[in-house]
Symmetry: C2
Subunit: 190 residues, 2 copies
DNA sequence: CCAGAATCACACGTACACGAATGAAAATGG
DNA sequence: CCATTTTCATTCGTGTACGTGTGATTCTGG
């Protein structure tokens, strides 16, 4: 799904439209390319390694997290996978119905649920992971190994920065401009 | 939504589980951090600059593309926004119902639809974009300007590489292992 | 001990997001 | 010309994805 206009054309169009605005161009370029790259990588992995197992990206990430930690509480699995608990519930349901994952109750705290791979899920990951990692290597194939490591480090600094200061920043903004509630969310039963 | 386990803990767990597999670690780290960063950045922007206008990320990207090109065919808008044509249809519907965008028919080819911002949409973007760019600057705030530019360049190389060689790669894989059709997609009317 | 606060998994409503199917329209090719 | 093929936006089915509401369960201060 390549872009239709060339990078040069887009650059010219942006300049025409944004000439009057003072812009932090390096920030615009970094954020824009970040999402373009993430989408392209996800697309490639879903259509190569994951296609064979008929898994979506998110489903694979959840399997990966559970595999790595062997047994994990759902709230931690959601945090590690980078999705909300509500989203995780749906994915678990899908993976459970396919016999790849199993839920059990925490022995001490009955509010908690624990996740584990089934033997089928374990076998799938042991078969799938090498192929997945091969495709990861392919997507960074245009980079030298040290460049990929620098890239990873740079991205991690962004994540850390947002984890440490993002909430503060958003709160400050809300103080200046009160924000409407986000759309979606369960409606009050009236 | 920070991760629950520390990076060190995760590293140890990964080593325990993957000790037996030969891994391209720099690729794993780059791809993993790429998605973590993209999700964190998107989350921040949706909950800061975009929250004020009650726009989702995808809706904003579509508005941005149409703004930059002034008038654009839907298929090109989808390519530029990095979403499928089917997804674009739904987003257009939302934006049209909010009076931010308008569709019209191509004068020469009646299969094509053209997109334009309404005056309200234009006013929104002129008001919203500076605030959005401020937040983009915030998310790369942990990076020096030259680092952000290097990052953008690196990411662009990944995108270019996938656009140039991704399809070939996926076709080669399919020759080795015939893949099942993706789940989802309209079912044949039988 | 026990009332209120906190936290949990999950249900639910809205909005993407994809690829396959579909039907309309335009290009192609004899 | 007219049938075939191609190209287009859209519809449809499945699966995330979010944040909020809900009820069950546990924690906590008095």
């Amino acid at each position: 799904m390549p872009a239709h206009y060339s990078l040069t054309e887009t650059e010219e169009a942006v300049n025409r439209r944004l000439g009057a605005f003072p812009i932090r161009r390096e920030a615009l370029a970094a954020v824009s390319n970040l999402h373009r790259a993430a989408a392209a990588v996800r697309q490639h992995l879903e259509n190569s390694a994951l296609r064979v197992a008929d898994l979506t990206w998110s489903a694979f990430v959840v399997l990966w997290v559970v595999w790595i930690w062997e047994e994990i509480e759902t709230r931690h699995a959601a945090a590690e996978a980078g999705i909300s608990k509500g989203t995780l519930t749906g994915i678990i349901k899908t993976l459970e119905s396919r016999g790849l994952i199993q839920r059990s109750q925490h022995p001490d705290d009955r509010r908690l649920a624990l996740l584990r791979l089934t033997p089928e899920g374990l076998a799938l990951m042991e078969r799938l992971f090498p192929a997945f990692n091969d495709e990861e290597a392919f997507v960074v194939g245009a980079l030298e190994e040290h460049e990929a490591l620098d890239l990873a480090a740079c991205l991690r600094r962004i994540v850390t920065h947002l984890e440490e200061h993002g909430e503060q920043r958003r709160n400050d903004l809300r103080r200046q401009t009160p924000v409407p509630p986000r759309r979606g969310g369960r409606r009050r039963t009236e």
